[in-house]
């Protein structure tokens, strides 16, 4: 974990929790036992409020589901694309769509991103990086990736919601 300089800390806090690794792989992997994946967003980006904190995952994104049972398809499955929930972060809306073949994620694309200013810059940088990491890890049969990288809370939640919504 990076030990960040004091001066930078407040800015990073506001950037929708950009430290982190999006590891959104497992639902796409067939396993012999059920597998469940949940994304947790550990800090609100703004001070605690009376209502749900902005950093908390919305119920739909959190885990609409589910323990996924993992019988392999008998024949090669056609690709299907599932749209994730649009997710708010303090800088705008993030929404992704996920393409799956069987239970493998084969593509992740942003449908909506915060634009303009630093958030747009970050989104433009972070999204391709996240997509690359997700796909690289999938293709290499890696279970998880260790390493500092940027992620977007909204992106992670939107991908999770797409995975949860994907038809079996």
């Amino acid at each position: 974990m990076s030990v960040v300089s004091a001066q930078r800390t407040r800015r990073v806090a506001g950037l929708a929790g950009l430290l982190g690794t999006a590891v959104l792989l497992v639902a796409g992997k067939a396993a012999t036992a059920p597998a469940t994946h949940r994304i947790v967003l550990a800090t609100p980006s703004t001070p605690p409020q009376a209502g749900p904190a902005p950093g908390r995952p919305t119920p739909s994104a959190q885990h609409a589901g589910s323990t996924r049972h993992t019988a392999r398809p008998a024949a090669p499955a056609a690709p299907r694309t599932v749209l994730g929930q649009p997710e708010n972060n303090p800088y705008g809306v993030v929404q992704v769509k996920v393409t799956l073949v069987g239970r493998r994620i084969t593509d992740v694309r942003a449908v909506q991103l915060p634009s303009g200013g630093r958030s747009g810059e970050i989104a433009a940088y972070a999204v391709p990086r996240l997509r690359s990491e997700v796909l690289a890890a999938q293709s290499a049969s890696i279970d998880s990736v260790s390493g500092a990288s940027y992620t977007s809370e909204g992106y992670a939640r939107s991908v999770q919601s797409a995975l949860d919504a994907a038809p079996r």
Binding site: S2, R11, A35, V40, S139, S144, S146, G147, A148, T151
Partner: protein, 256 residues
């Protein structure tokens, strides 16, 4: 903590058991955030920094984390320190993620889900196995290239290690600083530590990044004492003395 944490659990439980276990693990993570987040004015750590609370009033978990910080400071000759801000305050940020992920992992096991992978923003804590016939395979990110991996490690083959912690000099204005003099660390792009204790692993990885050119020597001191790891230097040199990195195919059938 401002981080995204991913919980991957294998195996099922009757009824709502899995959801309940995940809820409990998530609750522990949010508790850790409430205690340690420097982004929150009401965290114990922030209150301690404002001298709003005396050490004797701190909850056991905070004292435990501060004690681990002291232990890692000693192991690293001060390259890791909770006093890295240099203003007399204590900030355990450098190992809190590993500690929190460890707690979440233990909660999952207690709730009947011993086979899991917790990834706290790049610090990975493992339990059991992903499937009957294989062990967890953890990629190590190559910080120079989005989506690229330096390789993959098999912690089960490394003394059944539970923790894979990677620290690095991130882009965009985040810098790891040397607690001893406040200077920006350079020389090491990424350091990975593999071993038994996730909080300590997190701290050791941070210390390796601070160590810069001295990192390989520091890693050598810990190898054979239950730790191993690898380093990517700023000059592109990969240091992997125990050969823990396995090659990763760029395209591979999904056969997990």
């Amino acid at each position: 903590m401002g981080t995204v944490i991913s919980l991957d659990v294998r195996g099922g439980l009757p009824g709502t058991g899995v959801a309940a276990a995940l809820d409990a693990a998530e609750s522990v993570l949010h508790d850790a955030d409430a205690m340690f987040s420097t982004y929150r004015d009401d965290s114990w750590i922030s209150r301690l920094a404002r001298r709003d609370v005396r050490p004797a009033q701190l909850p056991a978990e905070v004292l435990e984390v501060l004690a681990i910080c002291a232990e890692v400071e000693s192991l690293t000759d001060g390259l890791f320190s909770a006093r890295w801000r240099g203003d007399g305050t204590l900030d355990p940020t450098g190992l809190v993620k590993g500690w929190a992920a460890d707690r979440a992992s233990r909660v999952l096991t207690e709730h009947g889900l011993p086979d899991h992978c917790v990834n706290a923003a790049g610090d990975v804590v493992l339990g059991g196995r992903p499937g009957a016939d294989r062990s967890w395979r953890i990629g190590i990110a190559d910080p120079r290239s989005p989506g690229a991996l330096l390789g993959a490690v098999d912690p089960a083959a490394l003394d059944d290690a539970r923790a894979v912690a990677t620290s690095g000099v991130a882009e965009r204005g985040l810098h790891i600083r040397d607690p001893r003099d406040g200077r920006r660390a350079d020389g090491v792009l990424s350091a990975t530590v593999v071993g038994a204790d996730p909080a300590v692993a997190d701290g050791l990885a941070t210390a390796l990044v601070v160590a810069g050119a001295a990192a390989p020597g520091l890693l050598d001191r810990w190898r054979g004492r239950g730790w191993t790891g690898c380093l990517l230097g700023a000059d592109g040199t990969l240091s992997d003395p125990d050969r823990i990195l396995r090659p990763v195919a760029t395209s591979h059938p999904n056969n997990s």
